[in-house]
């Protein structure tokens, strides 16, 4: 093995490691569960490792990994058929939210709203809105046109806005402390 090959190998492993937290967050977004997400990430690492040769050094490894993970996810779903999902316990059990975050982030509510989106809209808004991909990169990862991604993201936003705007109305109001200040300020 030449030194150059070793450098390439090291760079591959380093970039793979660096991408893992983001890749794992994407897996959790797709599967809705940490245990399934981690199995999916493990399969993705194995695939990526076995296909190192097909990765062109210097190109976007993150997009390459996301593509592998996404393909793996959908091919496993097709193989198994969609398992019966426990929609109530799905995120509440696995996705723990610290009490101090609860009121501020409403992460569980948000997570539930996200889960009501069709798969294609959810992955689009996650890739563009959270994982940090450009529309063009997201289109490559999903194997569709840029315009398709844009319209999926836009529909996903409207849908989330609708769900969170209606069901979570009271959550947007002032908290009890603020309410006291507000009533003092506007009460007299």
């Amino acid at each position: 093995m030449t030194t150059k090959d070793e450098d390439v190998d090291r760079a591959f492993k380093r970039d793979l490691l660096a991408s893992l937290p983001n890749l794992r967050a994407f897996a959790v977004s797709l599967t809705g569960r940490h245990d399934k997400a981690d199995d999916l990430v493990q399969d993705t690492i194995m695939k990526a490792w076995a296909n190192q040769g097909s990765f062109t050094a210097g190109t976007n490894m993150r997009a390459w990994l996301f593509t592998i993970l996404r393909n793996e996810f959908y091919s496993q779903m097709r193989k198994r058929g969609r398992e019966v999902q426990d929609t109530d316990g799905l995120f509440s059990e696995r996705f723990s939210v610290h009490p101090e975050q609860y009121g501020r982030l409403d992460l569980q509510d948000f997570r539930k709203a996200l889960d009501t989106l069709p798969d294609d809209q959810r992955e689009a808004i996650i890739l563009v809105g959270a994982a940090g991909f450009a529309y063009e990169e997201a289109a490559t990862i999903c194997g569709c046109a840029v315009g398709t991604i844009k319209s999926r993201v836009s529909r996903a936003r409207s849908r989330l806005q609708e769900i969170l705007g209606v069901s979570g109305e009271s959550d947007f109001g002032p908290d009890p402390g603020d309410a006291a200040i507000t009533s003092r300020a506007f009460g007299s």
Binding site: M1, D9, K13, L16, L17, L20, P21, N22, R24, A25, V28, S29, D38, V41, Q42, I45, M46, W49, L105, D106, L107, F110, R111, L114, I125, I126, G129, A130, A131, R157, L160, Q161, L164, G165, G168, E169, D171, F172, G173, P174, D178, T182, F186
Partner: protein
């Protein structure tokens, strides 16, 4: 826009008119923020040991395979 500014704006809206839905001011900003908060919460968990161990094993297996080939 800072969180405080958002809160103040919501407060003003609530005080001005109860018909105007609070939170409807910056719906996309609020959704984008929640999306990132959710995503970042998972990212911040870091890399589970099982993946570090897996990569070590893959690395070892590759080195051994190459060593055998070289003989």
């Amino acid at each position: 826009m800072s969180d405080d500014e958002t809160r103040n704006k919501d407060k003003m809206t609530t005080a001005q008119s109860n018909n105007f839905r609070p939170g409807a001011m910056q719906p996309n900003a609020s959704i984008s923020r929640k999306l990132r908060e959710f995503y970042d919460a998972v990212q911040e968990e870091g890399i589970p040991d099982r993946f570090l161990e897996l990569l070590e094993r893959l690395d070892e297996a590759e080195k051994n395979a190459k060593a055998v080939k070289a003989k």
